[in-house]
Symmetry: C2
Subunit: 246 residues, 2 copies
DNA sequence: GCAAAGAAAATGTCAGACAATTAAATGTAT
DNA sequence: ATACATTTAATTGTCTGACATTTTCTTTGC
């Protein structure tokens, strides 16, 4: 492992960077064991606490995992899609909420990305994906469903649409865009009529995928985008009025 | 802040989660100061070291920043797109390299996502974006350019295409997909003839964006995808042969 | 009034200790 | 010999207390 020059950044950050670079560059491979904390402290000529802080940084990024006990230690972690999803979603959600992204911009991004999947999804969708979509559509039609549950089901439907493309890289990249919309969608009050409209469009999309008809799916998705934007603009107008008043 | 029940996960992980939840839920807002390490240690009834490890975890996710000195401390960080880009790219790159994603799958994802941007980009591209694209095209035509530099320029061109859509959410989401391809592309040896073909397609894309012609841009992008896939398959075939032999 | 010196508060680092956990090595009884 | 219990060693997790460093505010001296 590399040494640290005498710059004045935090030692634990420097050490974390050195180890991270070794992992990213492929210098350390998956499941390889790092030296013990005591050994690392020796190598870098710092205390064990400092090494531990560096390791916690790496653990927070899922780059390593630790095991206690004899023959335990820190190991290079295989980054799984499941783990990466979670971080993706958290980060995307925070980006939207902290940077005052407008509903329009978020909506545009989400549907642009979903359009990218739809053609592939129409080609490859499995029976499993279709079943998920149908189940969510059914749930969305239930009377007495809360707005929040309706939104959650909406997200599940869209994720199925994305997953239908059968490309894990796409699914990963889009998880953030799809899920980060949920807090914004949650501000919408879904009337019975708007739910009916959405369920109708979802059904058209599912039908199109089932029939392997990409054009029909794109068309329905396009209408859904316009409708979602319409619903969102009402909300944003109300919110802006609130902000101006408060 | 919430308390920790007596479960057996690491205390520092539990504390990090409690603070993270407070930030993500909006319970703590941007630039708000956290209690000092000593106060947190009191509140959670743990030692200062444990609190520090928790804070380092959050710092690794860019959720907080710390300042030394009087009136310093830990503050909730505004997550910027610039910071998030870096993490996105690192994670996407690792996902691809650690999970043996095939060139085909990565390529498909990348171009599907870029297609999603191209229509918007044809509509909105600024003179600035066009200038960047032209400059990269020019660089790509220079004789004596190393394969690695050619790849880097290729990535820059594609990022300009994405940024041209003028949607920061899209730019963020696609940064990973575009950049993570670079290591895979770097394995390709670009002959003079293949460079010429790519430069030609890049020029067609730039021309189409300049003319606000989305269909022409899509067509050129489609050809570029097919060509890239063709180049990549040769490489992957060679690599698989190597692996079988080694 | 202003500059220098000091005080105060906070993070960064260190050293040493002990607790908890885990796998291997060892011992023991059937 | 095998199955089971015990010991042992290695390693991470946590605590305590100390000191160094950095930064801002306050005081002092001119």
């Amino acid at each position: 492992m590399k040494i640290d020059p005498d710059n004045k950044a935090d030692l634990s950050a420097q050490i974390a960077k050195a180890i991270r670079d070794a992992i990213v560059s492929g210098d350390m491979i998956v499941d390889q064991r790092l030296p013990s904390e005591a050994e690392l402290a020796d190598q870098f000529a710092v205390s064990r606490s400092t090494v531990r802080e560096a390791l916690k940084r790496l653990a927070a990024q899922s780059l390593i995992r630790t095991q206690r006990g004899a023959f335990g230690g820190a190991f290079v972690n295989r980054l799984s899609y499941e783990e990466a999803y979670g971080d993706q979603i958290t980060t995307a959600t925070l980006l939207l909420s902290m940077n005052a992204i407008s509903f329009d911009v978020a909506c545009e991004a989400r549907y642009a990305l979903e359009r990218a999947c739809t053609t592939l999804s129409a080609e490859r969708r499995t029976a499993d994906i279709l079943a998920t979509m149908r189940a969510e559509i059914h749930r969305q039609g239930q009377p007495g469903l809360s707005d929040e549950s309706f939104c959650a089901s909406d997200v599940a439907f869209h994720r199925a649409l994305v997953d239908g493309a059968g490309n894990p890289v796409l699914s990963y990249q889009l998880a953030g865009a799809v899920e980060a919309m949920q807090p914004l969608m949650n501000m919408i009050t879904f009337t019975a009529r708007s739910r009916e409209a959405i369920v109708g469009l979802h059904t058209r999309i599912a039908d199109a995928l089932e029939a392997h008809a990409p054009e029909a799916a794109q068309e329905a998705l396009h209408e859904l985008e316009a409708y979602t934007l319409h619903l969102g603009q009402d909300v944003m107008a109300a919110r802006n009025k609130d902000r101006a008043a408060g």
